[in-house]
């Protein structure tokens, strides 16, 4: 698919404005591309390379390291079942087997209707709620096989209340221009002004 559209280009510029070195924005921009298309398209990587000032190959190099960034289309819903040790102890393997049988795919696979991609993932930090899973990175805790079947039904009906794959946080950071401290390049900076403060000279305590 596509390069970043006009709206997302504005978002991308806002993200870039928060880093002293543009390349640092690479992962957030790759997420933005995934939010737009549901996966990170090759054209989007080329566009990000232009924005950040690196080659498309370098963008690919970073992109391919991280599990969340998908370079091929996936289902509308990523169903990621936790297989960390705490979930393992409370039945995650059985839940994964049940999911495989119900959906007819192995972890990494997408259902024929293109709705659901199943993954068995490492610990997602909900260990006291085992076994747990995430749908597009939103938690479901203490999931039974019955819960799972209901979830699949809701996802197929579109009643699960989960945004399509790609969107992470629903709130973006935004800094008003009058509120920015101002991002400077890493070279040529001196000691920050407040380090000269020495209130104890003014009889404060000592």
């Amino acid at each position: 698919m596509a390069r970043l559209n006009a709206n997302n280009l504005t978002v991308a510029q806002d993200i870039l404005s928060r880093y002293p070195v543009p390349r640092s924005a690479l992962i957030p921009l790759l997420h933005l591309a995934q939010e737009q298309d549901g996966y990170v398209a090759e054209d989007a990587m080329a566009h990000i390379a232009e924005l950040v000032g690196v080659t498309p190959a370098e963008v690919m190099g970073t992109c391919s390291f991280y599990e969340m960034l998908k370079r091929e289309p996936v289902g509308d819903y990523m169903v990621n079942i936790c297989n960390g040790i705490s979930c393992h102890l409370l039945g995650s393997s059985e839940l994964i087997h049940h999911a495989e049988a119900t959906l007819g795919v192995r972890p990494g696979g997408t259902t024929d209707d293109g709705k659901i991609t199943l993954e068995a993932v490492e610990c997602i930090a909900a260990c006291t709620e085992a076994p747990c899973l995430q749908i597009n990175y939103r938690y479901r805790n203490q999931v039974t096989t019955e819960d799972f079947d209901q979830l699949v039904e809701d996802l197929r009906d579109g009643t699960a209340g989960v945004a399509p794959h790609g969107q992470l946080a629903k709130v973006r950071q935004h800094i008003g221009d009058d509120r920015r401290a101002g991002v400077s390049p890493p070279d040529g900076q001196g000691e920050p002004a407040w380090m000269a403060r020495n209130p104890s000279d003014n009889g404060d305590g000592s």
Binding site: R18, P20, V21, S24, A25, L26, I27, L30, H31, V54, G61, T62, Y66, E67, M68, L69, N80, G84, I85, S86, H88, L89, L90, V121, E122, C123, I124, A125, A126, C127, T128, E129, A130, Y137, R138, L168, A169, V171, R172, Q173, I175, G176, R179, R180, A181, G182, V183, S184, P186, Q189, E191, P192, A193, W194, M195, R197, N198, P199, D204, G205
Partner: protein, 445 residues
């Protein structure tokens, strides 16, 4: 000995029950940003002094004193950066996500205090990619805090103190929790740890500049420390493990949960068995083993229950408190499968940079897989230990490293623990007749 009432001793989880504790209004109403105001009345060096006095140990896993780590910034080298490690991924660990979701302003205030104390000119808050809700809670909190004048230009109206906090998020890689890998990732690269020395990014870190990398829980303690003084913090807990710590107790317990307890005085028995905490085993079950500090930690057993949750004691007993993750296994546990689960994790998450880790962890996983499949060879248990010895010579604690970071040696812990204690359970998986393996050199089995 009964455990102290948890409600009375909470420092950093005190707003977990406050419905709007994640909003600026809720935070201010419950004393929020008082620590920042107090800090800004002090000289930056004195704020650093309070953190040294508090003897605050880093809460990310290594347990290094934060005040000492802060002191490693080379004098006269500017700018300096703060990077918050919110990439919580160690199996069994569940505290930083809660701290970010339920009390984001407390973390932001902690970041501001650290920046003020050390002259850090910008803060990057690196949140694990999979934690969408934590990201949006922090984004909302930062937007509020910027608007209200706590963050950004002229903090609290001060002409000389301005600092930006940039919310950053990862994309799925356990290794990025290692602080130099975190910096690589923040620079837009593959998250692979950097060669040491330098051992601390405080000397050479982000963009080659002095960089303090602190865990979320570590920073969340700063508002309380500055408001109440380092001495008050050091008075809580034990001599070498001060303040409180947040532990997640999960696995086969009656009431799994996330508990903030006095650091160093509460025992494993308290936190696993006391009804105030995890409430003991499930009905009719007995304790088999437990992991005291995340998947990287050697396992503990019944005889370790009366040890306090104190860094030095646990280190000397041959394991670690690590990231505050206690995973309990009862008598129904198949330890071979549990061991395989943990080793598979490290094999999958190895970044591939160092050969002993890349090859070693994946071979350990393969050998355990074939044992579980009933195709183990008679020499496989010794072979497992031999591979472990190649990754971490001597298989001692603390582990020797043949690798840049501790990920590889971490895969050794569960195997060494489980094989030593439960060798017969591994042997039970081996076929009754040992499988002979013939190579060009002849039969080796």
């Amino acid at each position: 000995m009964s455990a102290p009432a948890p409600q009375d001793l909470r420092i950093i989880t005190s707003r977990f029950d406050v419905e709007d504790g994640h909003t600026l209004a809720g935070y201010e109403r419950t004393g929020g940003y008082a620590g920042l105001r107090r800090a800004m009345e002090m000289a930056p060096a004195d704020v650093h002094g309070e953190v040294r006095t508090a003897s605050l140990l880093g809460r990310g896993g290594a347990g290094f004193p934060a005040g000492v780590k802060w002191g490693f910034c080379p004098p006269g080298v500017w700018p300096r950066y703060l990077v918050v490690n919110g990439d919580e991924s160690e199996p069994g660990t569940y505290k930083d996500r809660l701290l970010m979701e339920r009390d984001p302003h407390q973390l932001i205030e902690g970041c501001l205090i650290a920046c003020y104390a050390l002259g850090l000119s910008q803060c990057f808050l690196y949140v694990r990619g999979e934690m969408a809700h934590a990201q949006e809670r922090l984004a909302a909190a930062l937007n509020e805090a910027y608007e209200a004048g706590y963050v950004g230009a002229n903090v609290l109206g001060a002409e000389d103190f301005s600092v930006d906090i940039t919310l950053h998020w990862g994309a799925g890689a356990y290794i990025v929790g290692e602080e130099t890998a975190l910096i690589e990732s923040l620079e837009g690269d593959r998250g692979m740890p950097r060669l040491k020395p330098p051992y601390f990014p405080a000397s050479i870190g982000l963009y080659g500049k002095p960089t303090i990398v602190n865990n979320v829980e570590t920073l969340a303690n700063l508002p309380w420390i500055v408001s109440n003084g380092g001495e008050a913090f050091a008075a809580m807990g034990a001599e070498n493990s001060t303040g409180t710590r947040v532990f997640a107790v999960s696995g086969h317990v009656a009431t799994p949960g996330v508990f903030e307890v006095p650091f160093g005085t509460t025992t494993f028995r308290d936190i696993i068995f006391d009804p105030l905490y995890a409430g003991g085993m499930r009905p009719g079950r007995t304790l088999k083993t437990f992991i005291p500090g995340g998947a990287s930690a050697p396992w503990f057993f019944e005889e370790h229950l009366d040890l306090p949750l104190e860094k030095t004691t646990v280190d000397q007993a041959g394991s670690m408190l690590g990231s505050g993750a206690i995973v309990v296994m009862d008598d129904t546990t198949d330890v071979v499968k549990a061991c395989h689960n943990v080793v598979r994790f490290f094999a999958r998450e190895s970044c591939g940079k160092c050969t002993p880790c890349r090859e070693g962890t994946s071979w350990l996983e393969k050998i355990l897989s074939r044992i579980l499949a009933g195709q183990g060879r008679s020499q496989d248990l010794d072979l497992l230990m031999d591979v472990c010895d190649n990754i971490s010579p001597g298989i001692n604690w603390p582990p020797r490293q043949t690798t840049i970071c501790p990920l590889g040696p971490s895969a050794v812990s569960p195997i060494a623990s489980a094989l030593e204690r439960f060798r017969s359970e591994f042997e039970a998986y081996l076929p009754a007749t040992a499988v002979a393996v013939t190579t060009s050199a002849g039969a080796v089995s």
